[in-house]
Symmetry: C2
Subunit: 189 residues, 2 copies
DNA sequence: TTCATTTTTTATCATTTGTAAAATTTTCTC
DNA sequence: GAGAAAATTTTACAAATGATAAAAAATGAA
């Protein structure tokens, strides 16, 4: 599965052709190997990315282990929100779980367009709003549903994920141990 | 403690005077009594609010109980994000825990300004971005820290809250039972 | 203030989840 | 394809959390 940059941009908010060309002029395409760390928690990141093809995970290191808290796949924005919004170090390292093709957009270029073009400003607004809705959905899911429910939800909303991501990461994402996830999987069958 | 509308608007993103006046023209002030339900989960809400004075809680009803997942106080935006962004019913009822004074802004008026004024479009972008960062922070807190840690964090970041909100709501917010919260409180002392 | 109601704490027991370690299965490399 | 490494499952036991009930404390109305 592959997502074109036009699909991704239009999906956020349809832009007039002139604005869209201006935005696309600042976007580059690049390939990265599996295992690469695309974004790092200890840096203020200067670019945001969109996934053309591939899968990534965001995780944060704690003293004794690491916690996975997001998976990104085709069409998703890969971004250190804290860097993007507040120019501060984020929480997450983001690692490529497959060889991936990404679209890259430098934050600085985008900021300039926000000040010049009202359509792009509103595109940026829509982008933040949609990411907000997704984050809210994740928070609600975590607050309201048990790990078992959330695992089933994941299977339903994202059936491909489990083939592409190892279960240890998924257990961490669900907020349980790998042993607990094994128990859940044994029960379901 | 009271927050003026100027403080609230400027805090999101400083606007040129002309734009700010245009925005303020659409904002009304109103008082609501304790116990009022300001926003409802079963409606597409048409307004957003900012808290001048008071405290509110967002909760969602499940078959057997209700789960509190947010507290808003002076300066905070009270909003059904799903209504605002996607024109769909949200997750939450929002209840006033004190007699409160709020600033009201109709979504429709705001949308019109987004299309007309690039500064307001960027203000709206900043608003969404900041809400996003707060939501992300809540998600991270929930994923990374134990209930005990989150309770201590709450005490530190928000020492007034515990005087203004009953512990049952706080326990629910922390994702534990009231009995567990009592145990935590007993241990800490 | 006093009484009734609501909120919070304490105690007990049952259930769930975690930890550690071993067994099994899958994946990767040569 | 064989062997090594990594990932997953299983088991046994320990620790944490939940459910329920009852006592204590705080709040509010008359």
């Amino acid at each position: 599965m592959v997502m074109t940059i036009d699909q991704i941009l239009d999906n956020i908010y349809p832009l007039p052709e002139v604005s869209k060309q201006a935005l696309k002029k600042d976007i580059l395409e690049a390939s990265f190997p599996k295992g690469d760390i695309l974004l790092r928690a200890d840096r203020v990141e200067k670019s945001i990315y969109f996934v053309k093809q591939g899968i990534v995970r965001a995780y944060s290191k704690t003293p004794d282990n690491e916690i996975t808290f997001w998976f990104g796949r085709e069409g998703d924005a890969v971004i250190s929100m804290k860097s993007y919004v507040a120019n501060q170090k984020g929480y997450e390292d983001i690692e490529l779980l497959e060889n991936s093709e990404l679209y890259e957009l430098k934050t600085e270029d985008l900021q300039k367009l926000f000040d010049e073009d009202i359509h792009i400003a509103n595109w940026g607004r829509k982008f933040a709003e949609q990411e907000l809705l997704k984050t809210e959905e994740r928070l609600i899911s975590r607050q309201f549903r048990t790990a078992t429910e959330r695992y089933k939800e994941l299977l339903k909303n994202n059936p491909g994920l489990i083939q592409r991501v190892q279960l240890g990461y998924i257990a961490s994402y669900l907020g349980i141990t790998q042993v607990s996830l094994s128990r859940i999987r044994a029960e379901i069958k």
